[in-house]
């Protein structure tokens, strides 16, 4: 080979390991790629320095080169981190480079794991660097629900114990003011307020390892915080009642605090209004299918007397307001009222 590495004296001491894709056996390997000569050469040198576990500036430069050609090459990222730490490199520079890469390759797993590994170095980052959250908000401008970025942000919160830092909830508020349907921002909000903390690893998480009824409940409930979060969710529901997120958030808040769904019964009824004539329900005006589900579950919890009402709500969902999940609503009806089901009563209200 006569590429840039073969002709570079810096690399003279390295014997490259050429690609073995199996084709030397005479059998044609599958899903092969007609790599460029540049890529073939660089990865041959990469195999060689990795096999020797070399930690050097030239190795680091080589990883730049390979990443530029193929950022999805997870092995080269792993090797790059090892070099950066072994050579005690200035990570500020690394972050500047990484930020540019992140904005260019939005769906890349490796970039975000790389960032997390670097940031987890207490030696380099005893506290949260000041620009980190600004950069994440820049990422959210491109894609406000980017799963990799949110996963990284959760990790940051745990690593630097940021649950109660005002900036966290401010950013969530800002994102929800831009799009009240940002389910990822709602998830982050729940995690900040009620999620596990280092001193209570499973707090607030449903189906954590505690036996029922403690399962999924906080050990200590701050009732004022719970009230405030429920009010927050209500205000967001009013903006767009058919938005699933604040309803789900409220369910989570109530469960974490050990309070019943019935607390929101009157609120949910505002979105499901019966039209009554001569004491009979003749029609129902529904502004939110999630409110119907809420009422169905609330009636379900009230016991036998309310079963008919629960079935009526499930029936509204299956016939009119969420018919794609008809089978699921039928299942819910069977669970709550097996007798009703077996009689096959007409389901229209």
């Amino acid at each position: 080979m006569s590429g840039k590495y073969a002709s570079d004296p810096t690399w003279a001491s390295v014997e490259p390991i050429p690609l073995n894709d199996g084709s030397e056996t005479g059998t044609l390997p599958l899903a092969t790629i007609a790599y460029s000569d540049e890529y073939l050469e660089a990865t041959s040198y990469l195999r060689a320095v990795m096999a020797a576990n070399e930690m050097s500036d030239r190795a680091l430069k080589l990883t730049d080169d390979v990443i530029a050609m193929n950022p999805a090459h997870y092995t080269v990222w792993h090797y790059r981190v090892k070099n950066l730490f072994a050579l005690k490199k200035d990570l500020t520079e690394e972050f500047e480079w990484l930020n540019k890469m992140s904005l260019k390759y939005l769906k890349n797993y490796q970039i975000w794991h790389h960032r997390q590994v670097l940031m987890s170095s207490r030696e380099n980052f005893p506290t949260l660097p000041p620009n980190e959250l600004d950069f994440l908000m820049k990422m959210f401008k491109q894609d406000a629900k980017n799963y990799h970025v949110w996963t990284y942000r959760h990790w940051l919160v745990r690593h630097f114990r940021l649950w109660d830092e005002p900036r966290e909830i401010q950013d969530v508020d800002l994102l929800l003011s831009q799009d009240v349907r940002n389910n990822s921002a709602w998830n982050h909000r729940f995690m900040l307020r009620f999620g596990p903390r280092s001193d209570e690893p499973d707090g607030g998480m449903p189906n954590s390892t505690a036996p029922p009824p403690e399962k999924g409940r906080l050990a200590v409930v701050d009732e004022d915080l719970v009230d405030a979060e429920l009010e927050y969710a209500k205000a967001k529901v009013i903006k767009a009642p058919e938005n699933r997120s604040p309803w789900g958030f409220a369910r989570g808040v109530l469960r974490a605090s050990g309070r019943p769904l019935s607390e929101w019964k009157d609120f949910a009824k505002k979105f499901v209004q019966d039209k009554v004539e001569d004491g009979k329900v003749v029609d129902v005006e529904v502004k939110s299918s999630h409110a119907v589900e809420w009422l169905a579950d609330t009636y379900g919890e009230e016991g036998e007397l309310a079963t008919a009402e629960a079935v009526r709500m499930f029936t509204l969902l299956k016939e009119k307001y969420d018919p794609i999940r008809k089978n699921y609503w039928d299942y819910r009806i069977r669970m709550i009222a097996p007798a009703t089901w077996s009689q096959e009563i007409p389901t229209s209200a």
């Binding site: 899903a31 790629i33 999805a72 997870y74 406000a144 389910n183 998480m205 189906n207 390892t209």
Partner: protein, 438 residues
């Protein structure tokens, strides 16, 4: 848009927007509306690119020959501009083989080429990388082992260094019960799912290797702390996230549920979820274990809309020149071809787990007790309709391993037989000199 009439058999549910639309529009609703508007003409069967024919339900036929040609082609050479796939070649092989198996092709013809492709990707320290000289990673290892299982045969099975695999998996086990995807890589439920697939399919000892870090945290076995880890991945919404504390995501839900099913405790932890591949697992958990000799057709029935999924896949996902895609406006690729066909297959069979396992020994016998029965349009009752033609029926895949049932059983049985034979390099004895004494 063509002047074609909408087929009368397409129900209003698939032609119209949901009845409630909030007045407030945001980025989410804009994107959603854009997608719905792209899908509606396809669901109605009036998009100019849809050639038909349409069946009695107004659903386009599966362009079987085009998809087969697309997948065969996907196994051949790619131009240099596809270099981003360099670490995903094992996936390309797996997706194509699984897709071809679904379409009824004989994939054992690829045995030699599969063995040739994967041999240089296996590392002596255990596991497979995405290519020669690449770090072992659970994703390419999963794809490699499943591909080898699909093409079958002694030479394919023997390629896998099970002892090294066992030691490598031991190094991925984490103090919280989960698994990393590679040494130094991220920890998430993909790692846990891949590890359980590999341990059970290859019948590796459940005991952790003596040098596994996780032993220092009091763990003895690969499954120690795993159920707790998975339950910590459940979120307040009832879904499952990639890590404890992250947001629920359908793909991770499949990984976690399949993992629990391999562990043999599907009934233990499941509540409510929303994504396709999970449905057979959830339905089966609700129905409980069925006698192998006389399964009930269905007691719960389907919880999701089989009709909706079938219509969506056949109407919206088929590319004009073969291959399947995420949604209209996107290009087909092997990944979506494999998994949309898997989804279509799921709508065509009733999956259940039984009290009879293909593997008589080992800790994972329940993973080998899954059976499937074809669902036909003659079973149509109520609204849970089969809307595909018999000629569009695909093969069934194992709901946990996502390869044909027979392929999973053959691999496991071969290993069981090796064990009983007591000789050769693939026996329990070879592992046992590495097991710590009790």
């Amino acid at each position: 848009m063509s002047e074609t009439q909408v087929h009368p058999a397409v129900p209003a549910l698939f032609k119209e927007l949901p009845i409630i639309q909030d007045a407030l529009t945001t980025e989410t609703t804009n994107l959603q509306e854009e997608t719905v508007n792209k899908c509606l003409p396809f669901l109605k069967g009036i998009h100019s690119s849809q050639k038909g024919p349409f069946n009695q339900f107004g659903v386009p036929a599966l362009n079987r020959d085009d998809h087969i040609a697309y997948l065969y082609d996907s196994l051949e050479d790619y131009p240099g501009s596809f270099v981003a796939l360099d670490a995903s070649r094992p996936w390309m092989v797996y997706w194509a083989l699984a897709g071809l198996a679904l379409l009824g092709e004989d994939i054992s013809q690829f045995r030699e080429r599969v063995i040739t492709s994967f041999r240089p990707m296996q590392n002596p320290t255990g596991g497979f990388g995405g290519g020669h000289g690449q770090l072992s990673h659970c994703a390419p290892t999963y794809a490699a082992v499943l591909s080898l299982a699909m093409v079958g045969g002694e030479e394919a099975f023997q390629l896998i260094d099970r002892k090294a695999m066992w030691r490598w998996l031991g190094r991925l086990k984490q103090p919280d019960g989960g698994f990393r995807v590679s040494e130094g890589g991220e920890e998430d439920v993909r790692g846990a799912y891949c590890a359980m697939v590999l341990l059970s399919l290859l019948d590796l000892p459940l005991t952790l290797p003596p040098d596994a870090e996780a032993r220092k945290h009091g763990f003895e076995t690969f499954t120690s702390g795993l159920s707790d880890y998975l339950s910590r991945c459940q979120t307040f919404e009832g879904g499952i996230s990639g890590n404890p504390g992250s947001e629920a995501h359908g793909a991770y839900a499949f990984c976690a549920l399949a993992c629990l099913c391999i562990l043999g405790e599907p009934e233990a932890t499941i509540s409510s979820f929303w994504v396709g591949g999970c449905w057979p697992l959830i339905q089966s958990a609700i129905n409980g274990t069925q006698p192998a000799t006389a399964p009930k057709q269905t007691s719960t029935g389907n919880l999701y809309s089989r009709e909706g999924l079938t219509r969506y896949i056949l109407a919206c996902c088929q590319g004009k020149h073969g291959g399947l895609r995420d949604k209209p406006g996107k290009h087909p690729d092997s990944y979506h071809t494999c998994y949309t066909l898997t989804g279509l297959s799921t709508t065509q069979y009733h999956h259940y787990h039984t009290d009879a396992s293909a593997s008589s020994r080992g800790d994972f016998s329940s993973a080998f007790s899954w059976k499937s029965l074809p669902v036909t349009s003659s079973d149509n009752q109520g609204s849970d309709l089969s809307v595909f033609d018999e000629k569009d029926r695909l093969a069934a895949l194992h709901p946990l391993y996502v390869i044909p049932h027979q392929a999973a059983e053959n691999m496991r049985i071969w290993i069981d037989v090796e064990y009983f034979r007591g000789g050769g390099q693939f026996t329990q004895e070879t592992f046992s000199d590495h097991l710590p004494s009790r």
